[in-house]
């Protein structure tokens, strides 16, 4: 039997989970004002049909380059939430770069988002796919993710540690060849070190947009993320008995700067 530490409202008659109660403190610690170079907006993604392809989004007259490279890429037919910080680096593919860049495909269909631009003389940087496939000659070599590689046990000594798995807005999904590796590493450590506790905690976070609106994550995302990661650990060989699951009852409210960092599941391993 999986030992589930249910701190959610369903079990405790509406009481907030313990760390959810402390969440407001975390909020006050956030930056009160949005820096001028912070971006947080919703837009239709734009596909530019360059040789390697690239993704853009236009907001308030400015074109931004929004290809996340790995992870979860934009989709025509759906709007994207773009969160990041304007980079001083030169534009790519006709778009201002953001660094960091967080792109989320919003779940509601948006059939009007169908723009494909011709290459227009633009090139785009090498983009690895989730297998690290180097597509074009001259592209820099990138580490190749080898599917099916079972991580061996890490050597002792083992110390308390934690792994963080980030998610995109409104989604509890581990894209191929990226964040799943983190879960595999955690599972390898747990199986080798036999820790006293493994706690998986799920979080969610709203997004404070530049226009002052707040994009609210779906109810239950924190729980879904925690359960997804805990189930993955279990199916990778971690006994369910050693896994505790926890999640925040309410999403973080969003500050327009660090919101993407709040969509995560954290695996705490205590020896």
């Amino acid at each position: 039997m999986r030992r589930i530490v249910l701190l959610g409202s369903a079990l405790l008659g509406g009481l907030l989970p313990l760390h959810a109660q402390s969440a407001p403190l975390a909020q006050t610690a956030r930056k009160p004002a949005r820096p001028a170079n912070a971006r947080s907006f919703v837009a239709c993604p734009i596909f530019r049909n360059t040789e390697r392809q690239c993704w853009l989004a236009k907001y308030k007259g400015t074109m931004y380059y929004i290809d996340p490279g790995t992870g979860y890429r934009p989709q025509l037919g759906f709007r994207v939430l773009v969160e990041g910080t304007v980079s001083p680096d030169p534009p790519v593919c006709g778009g201002v770069q953001l660094n960091p860049l967080h792109v989320s495909v919003l779940p509601e269909r948006a059939p009007q988002c169908q723009t494909i631009l011709p290459a227009g003389g633009f090139d785009s940087p090498p983009v690895r796919n989730n297998y690290g496939y180097v597509k074009h000659p001259g592209d820099p070599p990138l580490p190749r993710y080898t599917p099916g590689t079972v991580l061996g046990p890490p050597p002792p000594p083992y110390a308390d540690t934690h792994y963080t798995v980030y998610f995109t807005f409104d989604r509890a999904f581990l894209p191929e060849g990226t964040t799943e590796v983190i879960v595999e590493e955690a599972a390898a450590l747990i199986k080798a070190g036999h820790p006293r506790h493994v706690d998986v905690k799920g979080y969610s976070s709203n997004s404070l947009l530049e226009d002052g609106k707040t994009l609210v994550e779906k109810k239950g995302m924190a729980e879904a993320r925690a359960r997804l990661v805990a189930r993955a650990l279990n199916e990778l060989g971690v006994p369910s008995e050693v896994i505790s699951i926890d999640w925040t009852a309410q999403p973080l409210p969003g500050d327009g700067v660090n919101d993407a960092d709040g969509r995560k599941a954290v695996i705490d391993i205590e020896f």
């Binding site: 992870g71 269909r109 074009h136 599917p147 894209p175």
Partner: protein
């Protein structure tokens, strides 16, 4: 030097000693032995015993027209003497007994298919793959014929109906007819099987989990059109005492299964979850089996097939299942001879079943080559420098094939065409767009990649990850009209996430994997099939909507606005025909 196909076979006899690939040896030996006998009979020693009808005249049914060389060869009795079994003469009658040879060549629409039993000849007497397990007279082999690449073609079904006046068990009422409640003696009641190669697959509604537990599907289903009458039947339909959805699908190829079953990694890119483990073996399951992966293991599939397709009263026991699966895992099938291109198993390429026997499963071919056995035909002279092929350095290919100067003009033309088709398949980017369970798993929509990005599993061209995706072959508006098939209206419930590209209301001929998972995202998602032995088993796609190999290419050209020229289409068709 120009040679006829038959002369080509004879020339192989003198090269036995130097043949490198084992299949080339055995095939050549077979050809030599029969060439020596000069017998036109297909019932010679070492050949399958043919029962249930006289040898039919060659017919190519609805498949691609046979190339002139092969048509000529088929008129020559020496051709069959050379060891190539007419595809329909090789029909395996359920329970006929005898031995399935360790290797055989069966003629097909473009040449000949090679079938190899890796463990040697199979004694079929009492073997559960060849023996009825239920009460309708069918066995596994009824629908998985060696001569048809371990599937079954429309041409074979047409011929078999004429030969037996519809009494072959393959036409069993349960699923070999449009609906069991129709008069079974008339061909019109079997029109979907006879004209499109489609068997009725009846699935419970609402779906049930593997453990039999009930499921609350994300969508409702309504019958819009029911040309077979089975979905609205009070006995067999959605409103019957045991509600069922009837969809109509092609049988899949039961060969080369080490590639189909091999786990590829630990994760499903489709769901972002860890792949399940087969409790019997401890190995991860790759969810690539069957059109909808309703059963994840060969044992479970065989059990279901015995109970439904063969109408067995009880599940087969473990020993029977073991024999079936053992047989299935050791049989290999691939095109071995092309009437225009010549021998595919020796010389400059080493294709045919041996390439599959030698190959390693679970290899991602999308960036190193899906079908390396064809590399010997790739030349810079054939491929040139198409403007889309900036990825391939000029020095990648040699200018000419070894021995190219000895090729006939027709051989050179065909081999060059195959080379171009393979290069298009591997390298020519297209905008892959609006494919649920592909564009929705993080790759982006569109995703600019060549065919090989989806068809990425080396040797089979399947998807190495679970291959179910909605390529649009069953969902409107991208599916062909197909008025002979039922049409369903699926409406996603308010709480459910809709189909990502079709929304809350989807019209479909076959909901595919959604009938198993109950999820809107899976509506129309169909597991990819392997590319092997295509020339022997028309028609194609799960619903038989592509009557020829060329039709497959034409469908994709339209679906993804590829902009193929007639030459491109011919090259792709030729490439697929030699696999």
């Amino acid at each position: 030097m120009k040679t006829s196909p038959l002369a080509f076979f004879h020339s192989r006899c003198f090269r036995l000693g130097s043949a490198a690939a084992a299949v080339a040896v055995v095939v050549a030996a077979l050809l030599c032995a029969h060439a020596g006998s000069q017998s036109g009979s297909t019932a010679n020693a070492g050949q399958p015993v043919i029962q249930g009808g006289s040898r039919p005249a060659p017919s190519y049914g609805t498949g691609a027209p046979a190339p002139p060389q092969l048509r000529q060869a088929m008129k020559n009795p020496d051709y069959s003497a050379a060891g190539v079994i007419d595809g329909k003469a090789g029909f395996w009658v359920t329970g006929q007994g005898g031995s399935l040879p360790d290797h055989a060549l069966y003629n097909d629409s473009t040449g000949a298919l090679g079938v190899v039993n890796l463990r040697g000849p199979i004694a079929t007497e009492g073997h559960p793959f060849f023996t009825p397990l239920g009460k309708n007279g069918r066995a596994c082999v009824s629908c998985h014929q060696p001569a048809n690449g371990m599937s079954i073609s429309v041409a074979t079904l047409e011929w078999r109906w004429a030969e037996t006046k519809g009494r072959d068990p393959v036409f069993a009422a349960v699923d070999g007819s449009n609906c069991p409640n129709l008069p079974q003696a008339v061909a019109s009641s079997h029109s979907l099987l006879l004209q499109h190669g489609l068997f009725r697959i009846f699935l419970p509604w609402p779906p049930k989990a593997l453990d039999g537990s009930a499921m609350d599907p994300e969508f409702t289903i309504e019958v819009v059109r029911d040309p077979t009458g089975c979905n609205t039947s009070k006995e067999f339909g959605l409103n019957s005492a045991h509600p069922m959805v009837s969809v109509f699908r092609r049988p899949r190829i039961v060969a080369n299964l080490k590639y189909v079953m091999a786990p590829f990694g630990m994760w499903s890119p489709k769901t972002g979850e860890v792949l399940p483990v087969d409790p019997a073996t401890g190995q991860r399951l790759n969810l690539n089996l069957m059109t909808d992966n309703r059963f994840p293991t060969l044992e479970a599939q065989a059990t279901d097939a015995a109970l439904t397709h063969e109408q067995a009263d009880a599940k087969p026991d473990a020993a029977i299942l073991r024999r079936i699966v053992d047989f299935e895992m050791q049989i290999y099938a691939a095109q071995s001879l092309d009437a225009r291109g010549g021998d595919l198993t020796g010389g400059s390429i080493k294709a045919g079943p041996q390439a599959l026997i030698d190959g390693r499963p679970a290899v991602l071919g999308s960036h190193i080559g899906d079908f390396p056995e064809l590399d010997g035909w790739m030349t810079s002279d054939a491929i040139g420098r198409p403007k889309w092929d900036r990825n391939t350095p000029p020095e990648t290919f040699r200018a000419h094939r070894p021995g190219e100067e000895q090729e006939t003009a027709a051989q050179k033309k065909f081999r060059d065409s195959v080379a171009r088709g393979y290069e298009i398949f591997m390298q020519r980017d297209i905008l892959i767009r609006n494919v649920s369970n592909y564009n929705t798993i993080g790759l982006g929509n569109p995703y600019k990649q060549p065919c090989a990005n989806c068809h990425n599993a080396q040797r089979t061209g399947m998807d190495s990850s679970p291959g179910f995706m909605d390529l649009g072959t069953t969902n409107l508006p991208t599916a062909d009209p197909l008025p002979w098939l039922p049409l369903f209206k699926l409406v996603c419930k308010p709480w459910a996430t809709p189909h990502p590209f079709l929304g809350r209301v989807v019209y479909t001929h076959d909901p595919g994997r959604a009938l198993i998972t109950g999820k809107c995202v899976d509506i129309g998602s169909i597991n990819m099939q392997q590319f092997r032995g295509l020339a022997s088993r028309a028609p194609y796609f799960s619903n038989g909507s592509a009557k020829t190999i060329r039709d497959i290419v034409v469908y994709y050209n339209k679906r993804f606005t590829m902009g193929y020229t007639e030459q491109d289409i011919e090259d792709m068709t030729n490439f697929l025909s030699v696999l």
